[in-house]
Assembly symmetry: C2
Homo-oligomer: 252 residues x 2
């Protein structure tokens, strides 16, 4: 539901078994799906949704996303995602999220997203100036997590896999789903590692869209000397499709 | 919501982009997820849900499912799934579903499911006699689609793939997700085939639970001489994990 001033929208959800990973917590892929749905709902409600962009021959694409969690949302509990717009310029718009445990009322995490528009014909970045109406909804509501740092390709992988994209990986725009990119990254760590560790922060940047039948190489490696911090990348042919960084903390 | 007499429950949903396949229709995997969630809601509301079964050391497992669709539910439309119980005996309970397009009011399809209980320790079938309360909710509401016929392993595959189960394939019970089994079957047909054909009927039987790290062989072949009907199977080691049959009809 939108707030009376429409500057924020709250999306309520319950985490079902199908939304969870093997640790009975929301999977990162499902959390990102909910973040995208909440962003879409708010954009629609203030008149800057996909329908409006299509009239300009453009479409929203998620460019970067960062999530930071104090507590990982878990099965059968009620949460809400609250979203608001931080900025817009010609090239991109920043939209933030608060994740709230509805029963306790406590904030369990935050997310930052950066959205670009692409020209539907050329699939190249489009000019967001036509959406100046979005400026009215900018708020200075704080989002206390750091903005996404620069992500780098993995140069000396300690983990590597290849995967060919199949029918169920393809979305309504004929590209690979956000879910699949994220799962391919998550899968670089074995089940026992996830039993012993949980995600504190997850950063991902979407660089290039992969398609049906393309073969991806997924790599991961520790990020410098920082304990629990890893870089990951998905490449297709010569293109970097996705870059990610995961910060793990041990379960206690 | 449950009806006043609690004999049926209706679960409302809107199909978002993330719920769809590349043909902008609900993916079979997502439809099955919604069917399971609707069954779970109704079982909980009449006191025979997972919580009740756990007190007997048992858990519900979906054994067989058949879906028949006149129209495949499509993006951004509102639907409801209405569920009711057809039967219960010592070994299994039959539960049916009607899929209704809320805007037009028309039924677009039906589903039949068969649920067993397993002993949580032995993972062997359990006796459902303790749930005799479920008999009160049996109705003779008709479900006009045929019960599931016998499904057979694929003997002379015309399509075959292998796949190792990874972290994101594992559910809260440490077995492979229903979603993954279904996607592995869906993926035996290439994207162009799905562009030209759609599912008229989907039958699946879950025989044996697969686990992390197991390697599956997925096979498919035409079912006898019937145009558009195919059998599919997932095997792990010597075990048949899943059997399925899909009836396709050309898109017009």
């Amino acid at each position: 539901m939108t707030s009376p001033d429409q500057h924020t929208l709250a999306h309520h959800f319950i985490i079902t078994a199908a939304d969870c990973n093997s640790q009975r917590e929301i999977s990162i892929a499902h959390l990102v799906t909910l973040i995208i749905e909440t962003a879409t709902e708010h954009a629609n409600s203030i008149g800057v949704g996909f329908d409006r962009l299509i009239s300009h021959g453009m479409s929203w694409v998620l460019s970067r996303l960062s999530i930071e969690l104090d507590t990982v949302p878990s099965i059968n509990r009620r949460y809400k995602l609250v979203t608001w717009v931080e900025s817009i310029n010609r090239l991109y718009s920043e939209r933030n999220f608060e994740i709230v445990d509805v029963e306790s009322g406590s904030r369990v995490g935050y997310a930052r997203t950066i959205w670009m528009a692409i020209d539907m014909e050329t699939r190249r970045p489009a000019d967001l100036s036509a959406l100046h109406i979005l400026e009215r909804y900018i708020t200075d509501r704080p989002c206390p997590i750091a903005k996404q740092g620069k992500l780098f390709p993995v140069t000396a992988p300690t983990s590597e896999a290849t995967y060919m994209f199949v029918t169920s990986d393809i979305d309504i725009n004929r590209h690979v789903t956000t879910r699949r990119y994220i799962e391919l990254i998550i899968d670089r760590w074995e089940l026992g590692f996830w039993d012993a560790n949980k995600v504190k922060r997850f950063d991902i940047a979407f660089r290039h869209e992969a398609r049906y039948g393309e073969v991806a190489t997924i790599t991961a490696a520790p990020h410098g000397e920082s304990a629990g911090v890893y870089d990951a990348a998905i490449q297709c042919g010569g293109n970097v499709t996705t870059l990610a960084r995961i910060t793990f903390v041990p379960r206690t």
